[in-house]
């Protein structure tokens, strides 16, 4: 049985269910309690769980992230909400230097079961400092896991997995998807990390993405189908671990790959996938892998510039047409 709910409520359900089954889980962040969440993701949670478990913090990302990491060392499993991942940059030291390295640095003594979550990516004319796609920046760090759901069902299932995971998980949501509605199972479920999903089967070109741009890929696939180009759209769902097998299997079939990644191109998940695919599918590829990223410039404010800057269906179509021209 399923019902149709918003991405935002899928996240809310995941947190509530996990908090009901495990007292060690709590939520902290700016405006999460009394305001019901800056984006209403934690709506009603203060009422259900009380102020000891749903905690409003001051605008002190470095402090409260580090505090939550400290709390994991004595056994808690905090969820830290960043109003936006853009604001996590002031907490770069605790989230990159402490959380993902604790286990290794302590020779396996202290893990860090924590979830950092919040809006990632351009929210629409938010300008240079507020539009970060941190998947490029942060996925570079070993010891962390990164989930980036595109659909409500995944948002819930992956967040439950993240909360139960014993390692630090960076959970990247999208402000632009919070009100997106889709079917979500009624019954309890989790979705394992490291399993990509073929969202749309196809035979001519593989298109891989994660997070919000998956929707642009599906849109592009629809357009291209009318031109007779059949795209296989893969939703990666998690970036670390990366399900390269599903991608490779698809590329061996289609012989072409377009990677769509909303972060910048230099040293990104997109470049990582391209590199791994070149390695695994060297003889299967009929053209070089083509990547669609945000333009390699700071995010501009003006709507015309921002539209030209971001990946979109139009650019994905162009990329697929260009890579398959020799088909």
């Amino acid at each position: 049985m399923t019902r149709v709910i918003e991405y935002r409520d899928a996240l809310n359900e995941a947190m509530c269910e996990e908090m009901r089954r495990d007292q060690r889980v709590m939520l902290l962040g700016e405006e999460v309690a009394e305001y019901d969440g800056a984006y209403k993701v934690s709506r009603g949670m203060l009422k259900e769980f009380g102020e000891k478990r749903i905690i409003d913090t001051p605008i002190s990302e470095s402090g409260f992230s580090g505090m939550a990491i400290g709390a994991t060392m004595v056994g808690l499993r905090p969820i830290v909400e960043f109003m936006s991942w853009s604001f996590s940059l002031v907490a770069a030291d605790p989230i990159l230097n402490n959380a993902p390295k604790m286990l290794y640095m302590s020779g396996g003594q202290f893990g860090c079961p924590i979830v950092f979550r919040g809006n990632d990516g351009a929210g629409g004319q938010l300008g240079s400092t507020h539009s970060w796609c941190v998947e490029g920046l942060y996925s570079n760090v070993p010891g962390m896991k990164m989930a980036i759901p595109a659909f409500p069902e995944d948002a819930k299932g992956l967040l439950k997995t993240a909360i139960r995971d014993d390692d630090p998980v960076f959970f990247l949501e999208s402000e632009r998807l919070l009100s997106f509605k889709d079917e979500v199972p009624e019954e309890e479920y989790t979705i394992p990390f490291g399993q990509a999903l073929v969202r749309r089967p196809g035979s001519d070109c593989t298109v891989v993405s994660f997070g919000r741009p998956v929707h642009f890929c599906l849109e592009a696939a629809e357009t291209l189908a009318k031109e007779g180009i059949s795209c296989e759209v893969i939703d990666g769902r998690t970036i670390r671990p990366l399900d390269i097998d599903t991608i490779v299997r698809s590329v061996k079939k289609t012989n072409y790959l377009v990677v769509v990644d909303q972060s910048w191109s230099f040293g990104s998940p997109g470049s990582e996938i391209a590199s791994q695919v070149h390695q695994h599918c060297f003889d299967d590829l009929d053209n070089a892998v083509v990547r669609v990223h945000s333009a390699d410039v700071p995010t501009p404010y003006a709507v015309e510039l921002e539209q030209a800057y971001l990946p979109n269906a139009h650019r994905i179509c162009e990329a697929v047409r260009s890579v398959t021209y020799n088909a």
Binding site: Y35, P58, V90, Q125, E304, S322, V323
Partner: protein, 378 residues
């Protein structure tokens, strides 16, 4: 340094001795006070029209208006000289106008047009104006506070080391009460205290950071100047709803910071009349509280003072307001007429000072070409 506790008007100054116990503001030329009133009305009208334009979707992104806080930007700006640097947070339209930015450049920036102060690349939160020594609008809470220390370090260095003279400039660094809780501010204050930097951290204490009232967000909320004392800084608490008071208090602080030089911290008590940004139902604060502040309107206060001193009258006020409405309307017309930045020209421009490869501002943007194989530059 003598640590005297002084008060002028409703301000409390710690370690600051004003030149005179009398109000300096009240003895300024009539023309000056009228200019202040004009500027406050201009900011108010500008922000009202900004809100309308936002509702009409002519402005996008995050947009924070300054209504209620006008006396702070105008009074503080008046207390320094034009070459003194100013840096602020994202609620920055008032500072830009008070610093002398033409309203049309400010409006065009929010409209995302090439005529904007940053060619439409920055938006509402990032008003920069080199000619007017306004060093931004910064969107990350607290980000501007180390920059404020840096501006002061820079001007002091130039005056003392390069020009072999004495430090001349004072930097005004504005921040919200929410920024009190960012590590960056505390590091900046310690540096400023250690290095005796001529910077004034002005907390525009409007009692809230989004939906969080100050006493839920920071310790010693009733006495935030205590934080500055720990860094060895001069401090003052000033009623920011009365511009005469703002000027008097700030003048004393500025004079001392300039002549010493040393840093200072101001708890500027104010109130934002509107929501945090354009989508805030303001459920976290009682309507009665809002009303009590609205009757404490900084514009009405100065206007009524000028009326009472017979320096101004109702008719002239109406005429002034009308003229300002025209000016703001004209800024909107101008912004609308200004074209959007050209994608080919602007997307890749201003990334590097020295243009190279794809960043020459004229090459076809990367995302409009498709395959990497078509591109020559790396």
């Amino acid at each position: 340094m003598s640590v005297a506790n002084t008060s002028i008007g409703t301000s409390h100054l710690t370690g600051i001795v004003p030149a005179t116990g009398d109000s300096v503001a009240r003895s300024l030329p009539d023309k000056t006070l009228l200019e202040w009133l004009r500027m406050m009305v201009l900011i108010r009208e500008f922000e009202v029209r900004t809100m309308q334009a936002y509702q009409d979707r002519k402005i996008g992104g995050f947009c924070h208006v300054y209504i209620g806080q006008e006396a702070v930007a105008v009074g503080c700006t008046a207390s320094v000289e034009h070459p003194d640097p100013i840096v602020t947070a994202y609620r920055d339209h008032g500072h830009a106008l008070a610093r002398g930015m033409d309203p049309k450049y400010c409006m065009a920036e929010m409209f995302g047009r090439i005529g904007g102060c940053a060619k439409g690349k920055g938006g509402s939160m990032h008003m920069f104006d080199r000619d007017n020594n306004l060093f931004g609008g910064h969107g990350i809470v607290g980000a501007q506070t180390p920059l404020g220390a840096g501006l002061a370090f820079g001007t002091k260095y130039i005056d003392e080391v390069i020009n072999e003279g004495t430090s001349q400039r004072v930097t005004l660094c504005f921040l919200g009460d929410g920024a009190l809780n960012q590590g960056a501010l505390h590091e900046a204050m310690n540096l400023a205290g250690l290095m005796k930097l001529p910077v004034i951290f002005i907390v525009e204490n409007n009692g809230y950071s989004m939906g969080t009232s100050i006493n839920r967000g920071t310790t010693m909320a009733d006495e935030i100047t205590a934080k500055a004392k720990a860094y060895g800084m001069l401090s003052a608490q000033i009623d920011g709803m009365d511009i005469l008071n703002v000027y008097d208090g700030m003048k004393a602080v500025v004079d001392q910071v300039r002549s010493t030089p040393c840093p200072a911290f101001v708890d500027m008590r104010t109130y934002r009349f509107k929501g945090h940004s354009m989508s805030d139902p303001r459920k976290y604060r009682p309507r009665e509280e809002e009303q009590s502040y609205e009757t404490d309107d900084p514009i009405a206060k100065l206007r009524d003072y000028l009326f009472s001193q017979k320096l101004f009258d109702e008719d002239r006020f109406k005429a002034m307001s009308k003229e300002i409405r025209g000016e703001v309307r004209a800024s909107i017309k101008w912004a609308e007429a200004s074209p959007p930045p050209d994608v080919m020209e602007e997307l890749y421009k201003d990334v590097y000072v020295e243009e190279w490869g794809p960043y020459n501002g004229t090459s076809e943007p990367e995302m409009l070409t498709d395959g990497d194989q078509r591109k020559e530059e790396g």
